[in-house]
Subunit: 227 residues, 2 copies
Amino acid sequence: MSEPINILLAEDEPALGQIIKESLETRNFKVLLCENGQIAYDAYLKEKPQLLVLDVMMPKKDGFTLAKEIRMEDDTIPIIFLTAKSQTQDVVEGFTIGGNDYLKKPFSIEELIVRINNLLDRTKLQKNSEVLIIGDYIFDFPKQTLQFREEASIQLTHREAHLLFHLMKNKNEVLDRSLILNKLWGTDDFFAARSMDVFITKLRKKLKQDDSIQIVNVRGFGYKLIC
Amino acid sequence: MSEPINILLAEDEPALGQIIKESLETRNFKVLLCENGQIAYDAYLKEKPQLLVLDVMMPKKDGFTLAKEIRMEDDTIPIIFLTAKSQTQDVVEGFTIGGNDYLKKPFSIEELIVRINNLLDRTKLQKNSEVLIIGDYIFDFPKQTLQFREEASIQLTHREAHLLFHLMKNKNEVLDRSLILNKLWGTDDFFAARSMDVFITKLRKKLKQDDSIQIVNVRGFGYKLIC
DNA sequence: AACGAGTGTTAACTAGTGTTAAGCGATTGG
DNA sequence: CCAATCGCTTAACACTAGTTAACACTCGTT
């Protein structure tokens, strides 16, 4: 048997937290239970788990805020949010970013296990190669080149390559605007946002030869690379 | 033989409830009988059945109210209402929303079985694809595009795509107004409702090339996408 | 130092999206 | 038939995103 997967579980309701923890442990996961977002962040820094399960509604620091902070450190770690039924579709969707998923309370443990395994599978696949296939393009991230079918490669700039790389890592999911701004520009102020607009335009131009590829805007949240 | 289907049956009259339960169990369904709407709701949360059979007239919580609450959690679960003959046609029809059906008392067990199987088939078909055929249109939900025959695709906005997606998931059935408002807008207040009106208008415009498609209003309840 | 190519930012303008408002039309119950 | 309610449509508005071009900076070359 392989190494157990480390999971960080942030859930303020002790009874529920304990049930989830024990259920996951019977499935051979190692679970670290934290009772609020603040504690969870410190635990994250110390333990570096492979996956996070975060309750959205928590005292001290809510799950979304916590996720944003952790995403600054690591933008590939899979996160599953536990949401109350009152959360609206749009908000939850906006946060379903970068290897995230969500589960509405109440849920069955089986549902949770399925999502955990899905996310772990997905992230495993991503890690291997730095040469990515986008529709009819081949994107070589280290070389910063983009090749359409058998045509000559186009050189991408540093910014273009990084932006595309992040879009690719979250393909078919919404990539959060402010997340990527903080990651690549170090700020999400007005000017950085305008600058990003420009790069989105540039990428769209360079990707338009295959019209099955689209960078779709999700108003208020970010972009989704469809391919 | 495959897994038995879990059915939640809410029926306040013990004798009738028991008959239905036993009849369904001989057909290899698993039936959980609840004696009122309140108990049924708790049982729903705990058991997550695949289909609901709800008596409309029940003490504590009637079938329609119960259905509305459950629809907040899950807008795809099939529901069959058992109605007294005194229920007016209109009210019953209004609640025949999102994978719902109804059966007038008295009914034969065979009628009930037929409806159960119909609804289960229908929901199974829907689940798979995110690219949907609407008459002569192809609706690609992830790409947020709508293509009429061989013409160029029209780009839909985020809201338009979501609204259309929900209409499609419940095509030829009534989609409840407040349900969709809560789901997409997070509230069903006056302004959200006006906003939704606008989007219905927009979708109607974009779908008018195929006049076999219609978004029909059901006054007081919601909309039905006919195609 | 002066030049030029390449890269990214700032600016100005244009376009798109969703909400609010207002007036009109349709349906229903009394 | 009238009044009340609900739905439809258009347009104005505020906000967000997209596009283009000018500008500024860096870096290597002359």
